[in-house]
Subunit: 256 residues, 2 copies
DNA sequence: CTAATAGTGTCTGTTAGACATTATCCT
DNA sequence: AGGATAATGTCTAACAGACACTATTAG
């Protein structure tokens, strides 16, 4: 009984004669927090879903590019200049079920971001609080497990899709370096892979593979400022190279 | 005009107080046509961009899931039941630049589809014509080459993204079988890869790899109905197996 | 010295590309 | 037979995982 199957454009293009859609940009912001893969969530202060945790995001402005809206929301929530911080931000997928927001028809364009460190966060205008949540503590498959945190709207599915995207992108892009500061050691890089993938990697083999990827890493001379308290042989520092795509890819150890 | 009054929108959530967005679902429909990778385009009958070729698509209904809208548009344009035909259809990306349509603010959720054969197509309500275009004949990077066909709106970028998605997905999913009928030979499957990737593959090695992928292909007994005119040794027929993801992946020959 | 972390070397089974060879149909 | 296409077999270099070993620091 959908009467809208043939949406013929009228003669005049009065915008208000079209189905009233709202478009939001919501961002799955990832970082490594307390040694765990974590995402930034805000606690909703108003109905619906008041008190539940939701993705940071908001409405896209009338004359605003959707991509720009995502960058703006990320900046508002973290106070971080996305470009300057070398953060990763890309579109994930659009969620457009008609009943995903009980108030009105809202289409959500979801994004994934990766930040180099768990920056200080502050709640936005309509949020009661904001904090990092380890993804392991979230009820992403909506099992209803009371040990896990339930998310608002369909945000569990969005977070799940974002996390899977990041896991996959570690294999064939340089996204892992976005979890780290400008310079880092190979151990730190390996720990990013291990944390996000949730499995141990062989140190020497990781080293051989990652250094064999053309243009991924550049060794930098000198130590870190300030020199961190260290035990054992001091590590070589690297910064990311020009490569965005990884040739060859660094594949997850499979079930052989 | 349609209203959402039964949605009991509170005063604060009057849809018309929000920026008026229109949302469309546009589909990059791929097939192999005359031995070339081709996409379905419709000729625009009205301004703007009258006479130019554009992606099939249309407005999403007020109570319609965006994914459903894409499937509906695909069916309207091809007369094909997406599910029954075993066609592939998935979301590509959302294009949301504020000036991409001069009439009003339109956010386009783009999809990619793969059809098993170049089915007969017919123009929709607001299209002058519809036909398959080899992607090689389209000006996807907007070079302005007069030998190539220029596309309407930002549809060149959408087609380019869709084609690249299909090329990438051949590597790690069973999407290649969506270009073929229910049963097919290994040569036909190899020709899909060669056509989409635009490079020759070694026959024996392709065979070894593709048969080594767990659950991708199932040999079927008997010949084809009706038996096609054939020269040379008759080929074994296969149908697609249960596998959607390819383990191990079938990677494009790289520049070594 | 020992503990701890960083980095190197080596062995082995698997795999990818190249290509020669055999099989089975048609005319 | 001869042409055409399908299917199999083989060789080799590169690569992956496993893991033993060396290097450099702190205390």
């Amino acid at each position: 009984m959908t009467t809208t199957s043939e949406q013929v454009a009228p003669v005049a293009y009065d915008p208000h004669r079209y189905p009233p859609f709202a478009v939001t940009a919501d961002v799955v912001v990832c970082t490594i927090w307390n040694g765990q893969l974590a995402v930034l969530l805000v606690e909703r202060g108003a109905e619906p879903h008041a008190g539940r945790w939701a993705l940071p995001g908001g409405f896209v402005g009338v004359d605003e590019d959707v991509d720009d809206a995502a960058a703006r929301e990320l900046t508002e929530e973290t106070g971080l200049d996305v470009v300057a911080a070398g953060a990763f931000l890309e579109q994930l997928r659009t969620f457009g079920a008609p009943d995903r927001d009980p108030r009105m028809r809202v289409v959500s364009v979801a994004y994934v971001a990766v930040l180099p460190a768990p920056v200080a966060v502050h709640a936005g205008s309509d949020a009661a609080a904001a904090r990092w949540w380890p993804v392991a503590d979230l009820d992403l498959d909506e099992s209803g497990d009371p040990e896990l945190v339930a998310l608002a709207f369909d945000h569990a599915a969005i977070v799940a899709a974002g996390v899977e995207r990041v896991r996959a992108k570690l294999e064939y892009t340089a996204i892992a370096t976005s979890f780290l500061p400008a310079t880092f050691t190979l151990s730190e890089l390996r720990r990013v892979y291990e944390t996000v993938w949730g499995q141990q990697l062989d140190t020497p083999n990781f080293r051989r593979k990652v250094l064999g990827i053309d243009g991924l890493l550049v060794a930098v001379s000198g130590g870190r400022e300030p020199a961190p308290p260290t035990v054992g042989r001091p590590a070589q520092l690297y910064r990311r190279g020009d490569a965005h795509a990884l040739h060859p890819p660094l594949l997850r150890p499979g079930p052989r």
